[in-house]
């Protein structure tokens, strides 16, 4: 009965507080109370404690204070007869458990014990999850490609069952965290034994060997409401309701349960995350704390994933092409090393290209896949390398020439999501590999075709009515068609170059992130792509055609209210509605007044350096200090959550090279500092823009982390090189 669970949670939390106290005392004995502590790459201290209480743990002494919070949440076990109520008390204990686990893990980090290392195999667990990873996942969290999150605690009864469960979660696109063990055995070890690739790319992330490591997953989840939800620290009700309504996480407990698991589970239930066990445990079915059941069981391992998904209230639609290997975003990140490779195409090794062409309806035979080449089968069977020209002809009543490039970019995901297939590049610079396992599973060139005929049809339903794929394998033929393709690429580039904010009358919104950041609205114009870098104006246009009620909506520009700052009446009207009244007005071309809001998954941050009369640029993942006096993770904290913060803005990388980048503030010449990473990756386009701006050597004048990491040295540098920003009108 539930009382057993409550008693377990209450006892488990009591024990954990003691365990955390011991670890903390040890850490203090070693380092002293004033020892400064932070988890790697986070702006949120001990994130769970910070979100719930607003108390920033910065030192070991602070940790002692925070342990006091955990202690306050402890309760007595319910008695055996005429017992007092226990649900509220058990949930309090669960939160105390999370606090204590967070402190325990922090103390262990201080002591050099985290991330944990498996003593037998030397395997290094992931440990604490950084803010960068959280932000990197960005668009996947909202576009349906990563709809849910599982925490598996314990070990499956055998290795094969562990693999089956993991694969099923992968195929359902779910991000899976692993922790806990049953007598030393764990799903992590089971998957390692079976050679399953672990890590962020394959969406299976081992956090640590103990149940307590589940806290890292909770810490990850709670940062979603801090980063994307814009919930304030200490507003615990808002955080926890956000978790319940928007973070679709659940736990699968494999093997017997103990007090530690019950208490951790009670903590998770506070967040609305239910637990499903594979053993005959008591259940808690009444709803309201979680959306559906709080604790349930499913003894059949072939059904446990489906059960967990239903209990969490998660809807997963998976479209899979008819190919003999597994398919889904979880397989997108897998690499194919040379020794595992069976055959490759392109990549400067053979002539290759991929090309999507719009055709008339009667010119396309839907579903037709043709491989052209006299003895392509023998050639393929031999392995190694071969030429490959892929022409995808599409037709549809709502198809437009502009969508060719949008569809073509999906080829990359289409191929990569197949297990054992790998794709890189695009157009005539593509590179495809098929590994030996996929080959022995029966993958042939025709399967490439079926990926396109099914997945493109699915992803662009209502634009594409017919898809026909022709694959060319003979070198001379590929080379000949390549010329036609290049002509088409060039035409497209010219068309794209002529697309400016002034030449269209409609912009597009991107509301995809509203599932996580409810008041944020991206406004995408031809010259300003979405801040996540994933959606440009054409993508928005196509997405709207695909789903007129979906996440991308047309915004009629209306009248131009301010040409310098880029303010349009249509944008303002739209924003008021779409942001739920949170944002009233927006300027597209300035950072100083009503700039664009951010969800939290921006690629870069633009931040004002007032003393330098300019701005700096830092990309997600940069761990060093910046002249703004903050690292990326801290800066990001003041930009996300759908707020307008003048002087700070999240942007997509490619916006930096747009002519509209801060056009109202003086444009690219305002950039006084940017990371080397950005300089290098955008060098060609930046140089061209610098020439257009009349400062051809601008890139050399912009400081980077080698030149300085603080504003004092920055000013010296700017003066030395004669940066144009120093001569421009004051920004403020």
């Amino acid at each position: 009965m539930s009382k057993l669970i409550a008693a377990g949670a209450i006892q488990g939390a009591r024990a954990m507080v003691e365990k955390a106290r011991e670890a903390l005392e040890k850490a203090i004995a070693e380092k002293g109370e004033d020892f400064k502590f932070e988890f790697v790459d986070t702006a949120f201290y001990l994130p769970m404690i910070y979100a719930m209480t607003g108390f920033p743990v910065k030192t070991l002494a602070d940790m002692k204070t925070a342990l006091g919070f955990a202690e306050e949440l402890l309760h007595e076990s319910p008695g055996s007869e005429t017992w007092l109520p226990y649900l509220g008390e058990a949930l309090d204990s669960g939160m105390g458990m999370l606090f204590a686990e967070e402190i325990w893990l922090a103390a262990r980090t201080v002591l050099g014990l985290e991330p944990a290392v498996d003593p037998e195999t030397g395997y290094v667990y992931n440990g604490f999850i950084t803010d960068t990873i959280q932000r990197n996942l960005g668009i996947q969290l909202v576009d349906g490609t990563m709809p849910g999150f599982a925490v598996i605690i314990g070990a499956a009864p055998d290795d094969d069952t562990a693999v089956k469960i993991a694969r099923e979660l992968q195929e359902k696109n779910i991000l899976t965290f692993l922790c806990g063990n049953v007598n030393g055995n764990s799903v992590t070890k089971q998957l390692l034994r079976k050679g399953v690739e672990l890590g962020w790319d394959s969406r299976i992330v081992p956090l640590g060997p103990d149940v307590e490591h589940a806290l890292y997953a909770a810490d990850w989840a709670i940062r979603a409401s801090l980063i994307f939800g814009g919930k304030k620290p200490a507003d615990f009700k808002a955080h926890l309701l956000y978790q319940k309504d928007r973070v679709f996480a659940f736990a699968i407990v494999l093997g017997p349960l103990n007090d530690t698991i019950w208490a951790t589970g009670a903590g998770a239930i506070n967040m609305g995350f239910p637990a499903i066990a594979d053993t005959d445990i008591p259940v808690i079915h009444p709803t309201g704390v979680c959306i559906y059941e709080e604790v349930d069981k499913e003894l059949d391992h072939s059904r446990i994933v489906q059960k967990a998904i239903e209990v969490r209230g998660l809807k997963i639609v998976v479209e899979k092409p008819p190919i003999p290997v597994a398919y889904g975003p979880a397989f997108e990140g897998e690499r194919i090393r040379k020794e595992d490779m069976f055959i490759e195409f392109g990549g400067q090794r053979t002539p290759a290209f991929e090309w999507v062409r719009m055709r008339e309806m009667d010119e396309v035979e839907d579903g037709k896949i043709t491989v052209v080449g006299d003895n392509w089968k023998q050639q393929f069977e031999a392995g190694g390398k071969m030429p490959l020209g892929i022409i995808i002809d599409v037709a549809g009543r709502k198809m437009q020439k502009d969508f060719e490039s949008v569809i073509e970019r999906k080829i990359h995901h289409g191929i990569n999501e197949a297990q054992g297939l790998w794709h890189m590049g695009q157009r005539d610079l593509n590179w495809i590999r098929i590994n030996k396992a996929a080959k022995s599973a029966g993958v042939t060139l025709e399967h490439l075709g079926s990926i396109f005929t099914t997945m493109l049809r699915y992803k662009f339903r209502s634009i594409i009515d017919k898809v026909q794929v022709t694959i060319y394998t003979q070198e001379d033929e590929v080379k000949k068609l390549l010329e036609d393709a290049r002509k088409s690429y060039k035409e497209r580039d010219e068309r794209l170059g002529s697309l400016t904010d002034e030449t269209v009358d409609t912009f597009y919104s991107c509301l995809l992130c509203q599932s996580f950041a409810p008041s944020h609205v991206c406004v995408i114009s031809p010259e300003r792509l979405g801040l996540c870098g994933a959606y440009n104006w054409l993508d928005g246009k196509a997405a709207y055609e695909i789903d007129p009620t979906g996440g991308n909506q047309p915004i009629t520009k209306g009248s131009l209210l301010d040409s310098r700052y880029g303010r349009y009446s249509g944008i303002d009207d739209y924003l008021k509605k779409a942001s739920g009244g949170a944002v009233e007005s927006l300027n597209l071309y300035t950072i100083m007044e009503n700039p664009m809001t951010s969800c939290g998954c921006f690629e870069c941050i633009v931040a004002i350096i007032p003393e330098a009369n300019g701005v700096m640029l830092v990309q997600r993942g940069h761990q060093g200090m910046t002249p703004a006096g903050m690292k990326f993770s801290t800066l990001a904290g003041s930009v996300g959550g759908g707020m307008q913060t003048p002087g700070f803005m999240g942007v997509g990388r490619n916006f930096i090279t747009s002519r509209k980048f801060l056009a109202g503030d003086g444009g690219l010449k305002r950039v006084v500092w940017m990371t080397k990473n950005l300089k290098e990756s955008l060098r060609e386009a930046l140089t061209q823009r610098a020439v257009e701006e009349g400062v051809p050597d601008l890139l050399d004048k912009i400081a980077d982390e080698d030149a300085c990491e603080d504003s004092e040295k920055l000013l010296e540098h700017l003066a030395k090189v004669g940066h144009p920003a120093l001569e421009m009108d004051p920004m403020i």
Binding site: S2, D92, Y292, S519
Partner: protein, 668 residues
Amino acid sequence: MSESEKTPGLKKSANEAAQRILQWAKEESVGTCFDRADKLKPCPIGHTGACCKNCHMGPCRLTGKNAEEEGRGVCGATLPTITARNMVRSIAAGTSAHSDHARDMVLTLLAVAEGEAKDFQIKDVKKLHRVAGIIGVPTEGRETNAIAKDVALAFLEDFRRTKGELNYIKRAPKKTQERWKKWGVTPRCIDREVVEALHRTNIGVDADPDHLLQQGVRTALADGWGGCMISTDITDILFGTPEPVKAEASFGIFKEDEVNVVVHGHEPTFAETLVDVVGEPELVEYAKSKGAKGINLGGMCCTANEVLMRHGIPTAGGFTNQEIGMLTGLVDLMTVDVQCIMPSLGELAKKFHSTLVTTSQKAKIPGAVHVPFDEHNAKETARKIVRMAIDNFPNRKPAKLHENQKFPMIGGFSEEYIQYMQGGRWRGSFRPLNDAIMAGRVRGVVGLAGCDNPRMVATGVHRYIAMELIKQDVLIVSTGCGSGACGTAGYLTPETALEQAGPGLREVCEAIGIPPILHLGACVDNSRILTIATAMAAEGGLSDEIGGMPAVGIAPEWMSEKAIAIGVYFAASGVPVIFGGDSPVQASKEVTRIMTDVWLERFKGALHFEPDPEKILAMAFDYIDKAREALKLKKYEPGRFGAERVLMDMAARRELEKQAKPHVGIGY
């Protein structure tokens, strides 16, 4: 229920221990209310509301065929006028009782805030802040006593304001408030409504039955959202907001080897002081010097409920148990304050060694020692009374009967704790309860309240209805003697849920660890039901006002005018209420129609009188099931529940914000 239980005479009380003691009393020829009830039948004319004695031209009794249409008093008053006036006078009297009690609580809070009542402190600062927040008293950066003083002064206005509305009116759901405004029944204050009610029922003032009852409703609302609610909240502020606590009930709580001090009546202040002093070593030593093993504090009626809720002080039960308690011969001293104290206790005490002490300056009883208590000398008075009890212990006569029956129970369910228990400190809300109702796990909620009554098998109707309701998945919240009846039946335990509740209710009780009947406190704490219903409305998914909830109030054994005031304020707040026994407005069809059909249309609540317990149940289920249907909830089917899953894809998640209704909250 069995025939013998329905028929008075064969059996007096459903409480087996009470029945045994009464049997013994009969043999000893000691009379009680049960014997008096047998001997003295109620006057059939006054009993049904057809007697007017508001002036000395009467009493006028309007009886006979066509009395409704043709009957007239000397002044010309019709039967509906007379019945309505009688009803309104009952409401005014009931409201006066709760509200005068509330005024004393406000004055105590003021005295504490001004440092004039050294024996009391503000125990629940959080609740003080919550209350201050609701009524708009600033708290930021202020001393507790300064806030308390302003809160007390603001509440004092609720007694004497001549224009405007009660502080707590804004605490009700918006729609409920709008209904009151629309029908002109929003109370301005307490005293003015009572005075106006008495004025309008005076000879030759208001004669329109609907208009008269309108003032009755306004007065009753001043009771519920004024007197009762103020009293509950200030008692929580001064003595702590209740949280679940273990206690015991029935006559076995009296100890043969200890000094038994019994508190009885309705006010918490003096009883709280007794709780404070009764364990003082000097007093315990003094008790031992007189041959007792210690001092045992117990209670009955609602004073008992007050100290049970906060300290687990055991109770001997409700109204009809007061004389029976004395009959055990174990009561060394009984202190009484106000309300529901039978004057017979004075005479009865004399037949035993018991000392009866009246402590309220408002109530003296022949045969009792009067030891007036006020908050300025609280502990001194309490010690004095405990010493009187100890001094009386040696006078105890050898017990002639040994009654050991007692049941464990869980009390202490405040609105605050009920929210907490559904999710703890972090996630506490009424979502789980609303969910459970929506999914059909819980069919509905019944407030089981009111007195117990010697004109029926005392506590028997309470027991019958409580058991039938929980079997059919109805969650019960109980107060006053309803709680006493259930407690002395052994129903207030979490085990009752596992053994007796229907499958859905059982699951909910098991998940939380609660009894299927939640003891909310004294009868004045019926206000907690109002705030709970408000919280349920705010949580969403059910009705957005109190009216229309699958909820019913039942007072199966009522007898007090306070019950009438309570019944009317529930009806006017939107809860259909069913009282047991004969109707005090039975004489007039028109008044009955107004209080049922008309009120139902205006307020979504009604006040019915129904003597047949089975019919009470049927009516309650009918109201609940119709409300479920109107709210488009899943049809109740025992054992078949569960919400239809709405599985969320990304588009549905983006829509979340648009669906979200602003949480109007309950000021917490």
